[in-house]
Symmetry: C2
Subunit: 302 residues, 2 copies
């Protein structure tokens, strides 16, 4: 039986009907309104049609109370302690509704059907408005003590680097999140309005674009190198807008990663863009469809 | 039934007879000779006496082939591909012999009977001649794809920092390993011959000792902060010689850790010295005594 998958971000809401082998059958998205719930309800109604579904899997921006699924996404001020799981349960009574961090869903999707297929140990990441991550180790999701495992965005990559929204300094997120990279370029006179334009300028040889994407790439490579040594993963798969910036980002990222992964056991680690178009939606679906590996709590209806 | 525990380091070999509830019944140690095997055999014979034992648990410096237990400890040039597990099996036929990284054993020991008792998620570390670590997540040991999970010593804490033995630069190990801290102090005129003397000088107010232990402490705090965000652990327990340097190390370590752990879920993390006298030996014993949680491979005699 298919499941409904929902991806709740600050910019867009995406939903899909996903078959039990992970195929996206129907997909739709809308911009995130100030009050997202009516839009979520309508969106899920559209992708569901008249299909019977086995449950709902959700990836949502943090923070959240987990596994309760009461969410307060940083970039959706209208939702503070919003009981997302409970509201979705009313839409699909008697079926499991499972909510996890959106970057954790990306990791799960890439492990289940993407770049991590066939390996036991993967770090999945999103480099976009923020920088997040999720862990699959020993073939199973790692939730952490409070459901927050995977927060690689707050690894320190530049000890004296820029102030981060978390209150710390030099976090990977502060250096490499798309809006920060673009803002630094614009302060230096770049006309780029977003990461894609900045990447195009870099490909054309614009030195500011090359330098700022290079700095983000090196920060990414350095943070991932440290994480790979700590976790002994085989695959690091990166999704999100800025991950599609191509060689201006990935060249420096791979170079810095290689410079900081000299231990023998790290030789074969694959570090690159995610393989799926919609890893977050596929991973959200997997919370329900492959819950034996990707969902730990046991307090929801079968 | 008791088990034999063995801790193989570059400086000393330690062994114990450990009761099934984790109590160290007999303990002995010798300096590590160039050819360690005869000393290992004699040491184990002494602590065993005429006790019947349920198996042997071993923590050994890396690298090693795991779970085969063929070891090549960096600081024991006489052992390259030494078949430690197979040789120990001959000593204790028909019983499980389980070999893991020595820092992994520290993590296991602290989780089983030390600072991590009662929590599910712990990072255990050693700061000594080298800097190593091990992970217990969700109440179980995390081995990683090649048995090397926990290598926090090669997290990058000073991007332009000192060259590391691994070939990289700015690794936590390169900054905070005891001999490196002492060597930097001596280059600046300090008379300290080891970490303990350096700590005594720092307590007495010697500025070079204060600065160099402070640098090591800040590197430790920074690396651990990044790891705590990534892993969502509740406890970080640090063993090893330099971990006993007191406030000159721990003051700056805690300050830097606090500065870089501003996310709400990290508020309650306990970061401090290990609770056990011999976490490595207790953890090595737990590989056998609590193998359901601390030993993954299933290829050894019951």
């Amino acid at each position: 039986m298919s499941v409904l998958a929902l991806d709740v971000g600050g910019t867009k809401l995406a939903a899909a009907l996903v078959s039990d082998n992970g195929e996206v059958l129907v997909r739709d998205q809308v911009p995130t309104p100030a009050d997202p719930w009516p839009a979520v309800e309508a969106l899920l109604g559209r992708v569901r049609g008249d299909a019977d579904v086995a449950g709902v899997g959700v990836g949502c921006g943090g923070p959240m109370r987990w596994p309760e699924g009461s969410v307060s996404p940083l970039n959706i001020p209208g939702w503070r302690g919003f009981p997302l799981r409970d509201r979705l349960r009313e839409l699909v009574p008697g079926r499991p509704v499972r909510v996890h961090n959106d970057a954790v869903c990306v990791a799960v999707g890439e492990h289940w059907r993407g770049a991590g297929r066939g390996v036991d140990d993967l770090l999945g990441m999103v480099v976009s408005t923020g920088v997040g991550g999720g862990l699959v180790l020993g073939g199973r999701i790692v939730d952490g003590a409070t459901g927050n495992a995977g927060h690689i965005g707050h690894a320190v990559v530049e000890p004296d680097g820029p102030v981060c929204a978390c209150g710390s300094r030099g976090c990977l997120e502060a250096v490499a999140r798309g809006p920060a990279v673009v803002a630094r370029a614009r302060e230096r006179g770049s006309p780029a309005r977003d990461g894609r334009e900045l990447a195009e300028l870099a490909v054309a040889g614009d030195p500011v674009a090359v330098e700022e994407l290079g700095r983000a790439g090196r920060a990414l490579g350095r943070g991932v190198a440290s994480a790979a040594a700590l976790l002994d993963v085989r695959v690091v798969a990166v999704a999100g807008g800025l991950s599609r910036a191509g060689e201006p980002l990935w060249g420096p990222a791979r170079e810095e990663f290689a410079a900081h992964t000299r231990l023998g056991f790290l030789a074969g680690v694959r570090f690159g863009p995610a393989a799926l178009v919609d890893p977050g939606l596929v991973g959200a679906a997997a919370l329900v469809l492959a819950g034996d590996r990707y969902w730990t709590p046991r307090d929801d209806p079968a």
